[in-house]
Symmetry: C2
Subunit: 301 residues, 2 copies
Amino acid sequence: MEYDVENFTKSLVEAGLIVPTRVPGTFGRNAVFEDVLARFDAAVMDLAKNDNPEFYVFPPTIDRTIIEKTAYLDSFPNLAGTVFSFFGNEKEAKQLSAKVNAGEKWSDTQGMTEVCLNPAACYPIYPTMTGTLPEKGRLITMFQWVYRHEPSNEPTRMQSFRVREFVKAGVPDEVLAWRDMWAKRGEELLQSLGLPAKMDVAADPFFGRAGKMLQAGQIDQKLKFEVLIPVVSLEKPTACCSFNYHLEKFGSVFGIRTPNDQAAHTACLGFGLERCVFALFKQHGVDPKKWPENVRKRLWG
Amino acid sequence: MEYDVENFTKSLVEAGLIVPTRVPGTFGRNAVFEDVLARFDAAVMDLAKNDNPEFYVFPPTIDRTIIEKTAYLDSFPNLAGTVFSFFGNEKEAKQLSAKVNAGEKWSDTQGMTEVCLNPAACYPIYPTMTGTLPEKGRLITMFQWVYRHEPSNEPTRMQSFRVREFVKAGVPDEVLAWRDMWAKRGEELLQSLGLPAKMDVAADPFFGRAGKMLQAGQIDQKLKFEVLIPVVSLEKPTACCSFNYHLEKFGSVFGIRTPNDQAAHTACLGFGLERCVFALFKQHGVDPKKWPENVRKRLWG
């Protein structure tokens, strides 16, 4: 198989699956794309059907203090998206209009709001968990739009994308056992769809030189795993599913306690839904009607 | 029926339907809420099943120049959300961290990006329609997260919410006939769900004193209709479905032409999905299992 970003993108656009826009990473998705995404998401949820997770949807904009309290801005200042708006009076509104209509910069008319874009699917749930967890901890699933400020013409690197997320909070043993169970489930699901998926230890793209040390520590402690699939490159396969063990970080910041009054440990895992869809289109072609029988059966039943 | 915002909100929170967050208008939605939302959306789509609309999903963040070109900032500067991020070097990143961790303002570390939050569900589609329309125009449906900077503790006034949107582009007669057909469909659907829905001429909340004149013009020309349902107030019912006729505005700005080379006319209509869900909870109670048989049948089949 060839891995040529330009040709892959071209084939997606020509098939109508994605609708290009002026700004990289903000394309539209068509009905066929959305159907595959929904079916894939349903296949993931089917794996969890006996787990009885609580389900929540939080909006794409979340409380800004969440990223302030969790050191997100220390690690990924360049990826965070903060929401600004106009707080002025009528005279200032006229100045804003004049600047916009003259094609001038108008960023100085904007002030920071109380919300930022959700940078990671699990973030909004932690502040809602403050207090003591039930005996067996909590298991949550979410379906969220996530934002990363990394404009790119490479289709799998989006500014806004959806994640099917699972979060487990509890005592360390439970949380780790749960993560390991899902690592197997995730890899198996993707392989069963004919995708050359491989699990690997991973590290986050921490900002700057100090980031290298943080990455080394993360790899050392095996806090992050990813299921990787070659989509636009064989050498740099795409992370389609990500597993993160946070130790007691969120438990400490948000006062989430275990029944024996320790800071709860948390882990999360997320399927990057658009990336999984792109992996399927890359592997099986842009027309789902022509996909292998076993893949169609798994997704459309 | 009583219309008491505080008690209504309390009943939603106690039933677990919404999960409060620190910032007004950014609450989480639970599984029951999401199920009703999905079923209501399916009921809307069922009305359109013989119309064969194209379907697209665009992300919550869109090309900033769309709101610059369409005079959105002249009319609603206070409602627009623009996305900022950090563009600095390592030294500046340390300053950002220091400010955040000291609890100081850090808005001056942020610069405007190329994206803003989508302020109206139909906006992202217009720039993709540049060129000549097919003979019968185009009919599109979308499922989108929309942002408005209007923090409020009133649950139906959200910062982020979802809209099931329909857009028609073509010659004026077609567009108007299509809008009128949907006005009937929308009102009938909501009434069939036991909701006291009423159609009325409406106006947008244009900013400032000049806004009053714009509102008067909009009402004069009957460019905007809304289906209103009392949810938190009898005197100020909630707009649950909105119909907008744009004349040739978007056709002109984005070069969308009819086959006889006129600027295309466009109209859109959107169901505010969370608002429709809230209207159902208000009317029939917080437990969908106890809703009237005919309502349950229409939604769950």
